[in-house]
Symmetry: C2
Subunit: 275 residues, 2 copies
């Protein structure tokens, strides 16, 4: 059974079905519930969002994985995110959607609906469902094509997200002990690094380990350790081209006194919309 | 007039009154509205939250300042954040608060109120006000001591935040052209850095510029440039001890082809709760 951040018709659902079109899947209400279910052995795999190109990292996923034990990432799925305005109201009193979808459609909304109240919902699917089940209230929803189809709502403005490059990264997460065989070549490795002291010099030394070996970093981000201000852990994504170089780089970073929690290596799938 | 992220009794209000106990202040509904009002010259100073030790950076503030023109930071205020559970309901049906306050009190809530519904409100003050004005609904709120006092709600559990080191950084933001004289010595400088190419090597070179000069970094964080995945700008906080060294470091970083937007230098005030 494959768990995913629900509800059905969500973007995570799209990422999940593009990777597993024929498998049994189960929706979870939240990222921690989904990952806990995986850790407890109730499901074999979990798919959760990791990062959006407009909104940045999904901190709930990052912070949970940083603290987790025995989980790893075997595949990354990159999905283009396209938002649709749907409903039948011609002069809407309110537009409903998830805060991220509202943020992603900000330019369209301020141009075309500057005076309409925006209401935040727990998910884009919830917004579509609410609009479909309350036809007498003058409402519109912002959600996926999939949701428009599922709730039989006409799309009145197509692809309204601010940026054509709007994409989200999802991770397929499994237990280290029972990882499915991945026959594709690994492309990336994500490291959660805690420095010996949270100092400028230490981070510089760690980046030097990668730089002189020409190992490409595609991301570096600090997240609070949740102790006091100024204490961070780092999320570093590296491109895996020559495994031996990466092996020695990680060994040297440990010698510098840093703690490394590696996720992956994983391959990358560029998914397309399923509709 | 000094603008701040309201409403009255919010933690930003506490930071504001600890710095300006006797000045005229004005609450704003959102961080962008407050900073726009400053940019338009309607207020002289603005105080907004920048980073919490548990939840990380306040992205709305960061992203607005990254894109802003002519604004700078003259002072940082660090406020301890203590959350209080308040109300008169003995068997509450619901506990109301801002999402960050609910997140900060997660351990207390799962221990003492595992089955009570949590409801998100636009601010902690809103939660306290709602509970005070709906005495017949079995509700409790999580908010500041200040809010308990303002709405005459009894505190039934004190300092329920998960971590004693829970602190928030606030910035006093002013126009570069009419910055108030700051007679205190500058302590920190925040740099918004865009790299020539978003590459491992470039970031490493920039950190090298600070490392060999023994300039301490207290924070480094990447934020999406909102173009496509993998494109970031960096927020780097440095400790200003010797101005000349910092001057040459910044000049060299520009030579490397990076774009720097400096905020500050600013001094730091450790505020205490006002009650």
């Amino acid at each position: 059974m494959i768990g995913y951040l629900g509800p059905k018709s969500s973007f995570t659902y799209q990422a999940t079905t593009s990777l597993f079109p024929n498998d049994a899947i189960q929706a979870f209400h939240s990222i921690p519930l989904c990952l806990e279910s995986l850790a407890n052995g109730e499901i074999e795999s979990a798919i959760v969002p990791i990062e959006n190109s407009l909104e940045g990292s999904v901190h709930t996923s990052m912070d949970y994985l940083f603290k987790s034990q025995g989980l790893t990432v075997t595949k990354e799925i990159i999905l283009p995110i396209k938002q649709q305005l749907m409903g039948t109201a011609t002069t809407p009193a309110m537009i409903l959607s998830h805060p991220q979808a509202l943020a992603q459609s900000q330019h369209f909304l301020t141009t075309h609906y500057p005076h309409v109240t925006l209401k935040e919902t727990p998910s884009t699917t919830y917004a579509a469902e609410y609009v479909a089940t309350h036809p007498n209230e003058a409402l519109l929803a912002i959600a996926s094509k999939e949701a428009a189809e599922a709730f039989a709502l006409p799309i009145i403005a197509k692809d309204i997200q601010d940026n054509d490059q709007n994409q989200t990264r999802f991770w397929l997460i499994q237990k280290e002990s029972i990882t499915l065989k991945n026959t594709e070549p690994a492309q990336k490795l994500t490291l959660f690094v805690t420095l010996p002291q949270n100092q400028a010099g230490a981070l510089h030394q760690i980046l030097a380990v990668f730089a002189w070996r020409n190992i490409d970093l595609t991301k570096i981000e600090s997240r609070p350790l949740k102790t006091s201000l100024g204490q961070y852990y780092f999320v570093i994504d590296i491109v895996v081209e020559q495994k031996e170089w990466v092996h020695y780089a990680l060994e040297e970073i440990k010698l510098l006194g840093a703690t490394i929690k590696p996720f992956g290596p994983y391959s990358i799938l560029k998914a397309t919309e399923t509709l």
